[in-house]
Symmetry: C2
Subunit: 202 residues, 2 copies
DNA sequence: GCGCTTATTATACGCTTGTATGAATCGTGC
DNA sequence: GCACGATTCATACAAGCGTATAATAAGCGC
């Protein structure tokens, strides 16, 4: 059996993803993890820190992988295409997430969670991305005026987060046989959409 | 001074928009509304119903307005352009919302709130849209295969909700002088992006 | 197999939560 | 100006919350 701290992280990941930070109590987490209530103060101190660790456990490696991918793309000599950049930005998140449904949702939903504790953590962990992601996209869209670029970047984030969060809205409309579980298929559809959007005439 | 029930709805709208359903207590709402605690059970019964009424108060008129706009578009004889349909679908939500920041956020964020109570209400109120919105967009994108269309519809919802929710992410990146408060400007940038995405070659 | 660190347990504390209720107050038709 | 329905009020309740802690158990180098 996994150690208690790890089982707590697993349970926290799933529950926070499904019900949000304020929708889950510490007692619900320990019950799912089959762990004593005192284990939370012992291993993590506070609920907020448990949430933070559950997020960091996967988000930090993911961020590093994304940066590595982009670096490789740039090392190839010539400047990468818009599609390549979009792919490098989206693929790690989508793949990690499709290997692990809970974390995909957690990442997507936490990015939109208005709770101050969550917002604080998200800007903390994604401040490096705040500088990195736009910079790479900017290079691939050098011709766009600033204002236009930022509005389109806004659209990019919207699409990315909505796909990650996986609210099931599309299934409700398209029916159960519509499949969103394949990373390749998701990228195959999303990237052309976004690329066309970024390339739209001003 | 406004009656207590209305002030409760106003306070609920703002607070739920900023902190989420589970991030706000009834006591915080009555304090902001300058109303006695007992007024909530008296006028609304439960917290959940207060949330529901705060949502319905503006969401129902908005939905009706959207449907009217689309109907007018179709009455003009020839079938409307993709841009026209996108405009009719987005404009009421964005305008209502820019006249009332709280409700914009509330609508966008509630759409992504994972709390079961919220999900229940959102599908309840937006079931008519679930049939309506896609049908209109589908007509304007008749050439797309089903699977492609639904993935692009997914992107559409992502963009719409992210713009509504207004998380401030773009300001963090683009700086304070980047303005998202103008409805016209928002539509002017979002619609070409989405239209190009829907028109991307398969 | 003793000793010491690390982990787990049961339990308790003070506080906040949503909701309920009976008494006080208000507004208004007569 | 009084009576009566509609509202507002202070207060109470049980349940759940996050966190703390002292006692117990387990792991392990020696």
């Amino acid at each position: 059996m996994k150690p208690a701290a790890e089982r707590l992280l697993d349970a926290a990941e799933t529950l926070f993803a499904d019900y949000g930070y304020n929708g889950v109590s510490v007692r619900q987490i320990v019950e799912r993890a089959r762990v004593n209530l005192g284990a939370v103060p012992y291993h993590f101190g506070t609920k907020e820190n448990l949430f933070k660790q559950a997020l960091y456990r996967r988000a930090v490696p993911l961020r590093i992988e994304r940066e590595t991918l982009i670096r490789q793309l740039n090392q190839n000599g010539k400047s990468p295409s818009l599609e390549d950049v979009l792919w490098a930005l989206l693929e790690p998140a989508l793949r990690t997430s499709h290997e692990n449904d809970s974390f995909r949702k957690l990442l997507g939903r936490a990015s939109m969670d208005p709770a101050p504790e969550v917002r604080k953590l998200m800007t903390e962990i994604y401040n490096p991305d705040f500088l990195f992601v736009p910079k790479e996209l900017r290079k691939a869209c050098a011709h766009l005026p600033n204002e236009v670029f930022y509005w389109r970047l806004n659209c990019f984030y919207g699409v990315m987060l909505f796909v990650l969060a996986d609210t099931g809205k599309i299934q409700t409309i398209a029916g159960k046989n519509f499949d969103t579980s394949s990373t390749e298929k998701a990228l195959e559809h999303i990237i052309p959409f976004l690329a066309a959007g970024f390339r739209a005439p001003v």
